[in-house]
């Protein structure tokens, strides 16, 4: 168990609890003549979350620190894929589904394991266009298509 993570998580959750409690004081406290308004539920739960977080933080100080075995984490690989995924999400609407998906898959495949570029390109192309075709032309769904300046429509 990672005590420092628990402590930070406790602080964050506690802050969220306080935040919701404070926020609920600005919400109207009555609705249509009933004395029960929209503020009660979040106020009460924010209090619960705060109390539970305090207990969590308290526990991390009480228990002795256990030596935690550090597993080697592949931050580089994760970083590349995560940034690629965020860019994918951001560019999906402007650059269209097929292009972004193809690029993301290609980066993803090559980051997971280098090599066999041709196979990666083939699979990425099949999936990006395949999903788009199935969804938009067969199932009549709607996805951002190709960008207008490509003139493909």
């Amino acid at each position: 168990m990672n005590h420092s993570f628990d402590r930070y998580a406790g602080i964050v959750f506690g802050a969220i609890g306080i935040f919701f409690m404070a926020g609920s004081s600005t919400i109207s406290s009555s609705a249509y003549g009933s004395s029960i308004g929209a503020n009660i539920f979040p106020l009460f739960l924010g209090g619960c979350l705060l109390l539970l977080s305090v207990k969590l933080i308290y526990d991390t100080f009480r228990k002795e620190r256990a030596a935690s075995a550090k597993a080697s984490l592949d931050y580089k690989r994760f970083g590349i894929i995560f940034i690629a995924a965020v860019l994918y999400a951001l560019l999906l609407e402007s650059a269209g589904f097929v292009i972004t998906t193809f690029l993301f898959l290609l980066i993803g495949f090559q980051t997971m394991q280098k090599g066999r570029l041709a196979v990666s390109i083939l699979i990425a192309a099949c999936f990006s266009y395949g999903i788009y075709y199935l969804y938009v032309h067969v199932l009549d769904g709607s996805l951002p298509g190709f960008p207008a300046w490509l003139g493909l429509s």
Partner: protein, 508 residues
């Protein structure tokens, strides 16, 4: 109409050709999801919701809901079948409720009896599926007849009981699961309040007015979170796969496993009924019980067929049993049923006591489809088990980026917003770190789904009582629920203080 008539009507619905197709795809995808170690039933169901939503877009709302739920339920119980395959062949459980199966299943595979173990697992799952369905048919309607008499105060207390029960059993630390539950309930308050129409915690961000979409959060936490974990921790299954020689079990195998299958099914079904328990506990208890009953307990762990038959039947029966509180009370008892409930709500169908009255076609159609689905699974799994075993070898290189693409595609197809896509990535990151540090994710999703219902019932009850909180204690049924909820949380604490080991449910 009697239950049998309803069931026959349901069967007619389930036998429509498009629904047969949906059952087939559901159980097929479910089996694959169960086999693949990366994705469990929760992320599988969450990922498929948007896809079924578009596949059914040509049907009328009620038919669309029926077909989608049929498919999603198929994924749920199909995953229970698939999970056993990897446990037996690779000693790696494909999903967490098959952990016990590795004990004897892998031993059997090492002795060259992999085929028999797989067949018994499939047959046991089938028998359990049927037994739990019979239970479902006879219990669901009486239970909803009782539940329909509940007022808002009773409902609120029942939901408290459900949430406490899940928090009491989920994960290693009850404190952490309670935190996650409260956090999920708080997240559910974001958006326009459905009673008074005021906006809460939106800060003028238009995307927040409709609240956080449950699908986005679930896909992010479970599917993307698991993918991030695999990338970071270099998960890979390099274990040696056992060979499958003959598939059909011998007569002796059948004789040895008949009784364990029956016992496991019944036990699993009743454990599945309990909120928070679910498939993992069911399989553990079934295994322990078989070991106690058995004439030669020393065989267990060395390839006893009863050690495969009982837990595999139990986890399947539990998944059937878990459908009862969902369908008849509208309260999910595990993570996967919570996500199923989210699917119901997306189709504007409220699971609960009125489901059997308002949507008999849907309710009985889904139940009857489970018969058909279990039969298909048996047929699929016996001859095709070699092919499913091949699925395990899908290289993670291709699988991982594809799961991210499916998550993005699925969320975008339903929400059409970049905000939700970024939320998916954020939830994935949060899901990875929280799960890694023993903060269970299912209570959060459950809180997010139950939050609006719970708040509405609480405010209705308090409006009736003029703001007096004692109404929850004055109504006897409500008091009973709260009391049981309290016991559920305190008993494990007391047991822990006494130094006993408490079984926990990692899935829920």
């Amino acid at each position: 109409m009697s239950t049998i008539d309803y069931l026959l009507h349901g069967l007619a619905t389930a036998m429509q050709w498009h629904n047969l197709l949906f059952v087939f795809f559901g159980v097929l995808i479910g089996t694959v999801v169960g086999v693949l170690p990366g994705i469990g039933p929760m992320s599988g169901v969450a990922l498929l919701i948007p896809i079924t939503a578009t596949m059914t877009s040509g049907l009328s709302p009620e038919e669309a809901a029926t077909s989608s739920i049929i498919l999603l339920a198929g994924v749920y119980y199909g995953a229970m079948y698939g999970g056993s395959t990897t446990s037996i062949l690779l000693n790696t459980p494909g999903e967490s409720s098959s952990v016990v199966t590795t004990l004897d299943g892998y031993q059997m595979a090492k002795q060259g009896r992999a085929g028999a173990a797989l067949a018994i697992a499939a047959i046991g799952s089938f028998a359990a599926g049927i037994i739990s369905l019979i239970g479902l048919i006879f219990l669901a309607r009486p239970l909803s007849a009782v539940a329909i008499k509940f007022g808002p105060a009773e409902y609120f207390s029942l939901m408290i009981l459900g949430l406490l029960a899940i928090s009491g059993l989920a994960g290693k630390s009850m404190l952490k699961s309670l935190i996650m539950t409260a956090f999920g309930l708080l997240l559910a308050t974001i958006g326009i309040d459905s009673v008074s129409g005021v906006e809460r915690f939106t800060f003028g961000v238009p995307e927040l007015y409709q609240g956080l979409e449950f699908l986005t959060v679930a896909v992010g936490l479970f599917a993307v979170g698991e993918v991030f974990k695999t990338i970071l921790e270099k998960d890979s299954n390099e274990g040696e796969m056992a060979k499958i020689n003959r598939i059909l079990p011998t007569k002796q195998d059948m004789k040895d496993s008949a009784a364990p299958i029956a016992r496991g099914s019944v036990l699993g079904f009743f454990i599945g009924l309990l909120p928070g328990a679910g498939a993992i506990l069911a399989s553990f208890f079934a295994y322990i019980m078989e070991k106690k009953i058995s004439k030669n307990p020393e065989q267990f762990g060395k390839g006893a067929i009863a050690g495969v038959a009982a837990p595999e039947s139990a986890n399947n029966a539990a998944s059937g049993g878990a459908m009862i509180p969902l369908l008849s009370l509208g309260i999910p008892s595990s993570g996967t049923t919570a996500i199923l409930m989210g699917a119901f709500i997306m189709y504007n169908v409220q699971p609960g006591p009125l489901l059997f009255q308002d949507h008999p076609q849907l309710a009985w159609g889904v139940i009857a489809s489970m018969f058909v689905g279990n039969l298909m699974l048996l047929i699929l799994n016996l001859p095709l088990v070699r092919i499913f075993a091949k699925v395990i070898q899908t290289p993670a290189k291709y699988l991982i980026p594809l799961i991210i693409v499916f998550s993005v595609f699925g969320v975008y197809a339903v929400q059409y917003s970049t905000f939700d896509l970024l939320l998916v990535m954020g939830c994935g990151l949060a899901g990875y770190f929280l799960a890694k540090n023993d903060f269970p994710l299912a209570p959060l999703v459950l809180g997010l789904i139950l939050g609006p219902m719970m708040e509405n019932n609480m405010r209705r009850a308090l409006t009736i009582s003029n703001g007096d909180f004692m109404i929850f204690l004055e109504k006897p049924v409500s008091l009973l629920f709260l009391f049981i909820g309290l016991l559920w949380v305190t008993i494990p604490l007391v047991l822990k203080l006494k130094g006993r080991k408490v079984l926990i449910n990692e899935e829920a």
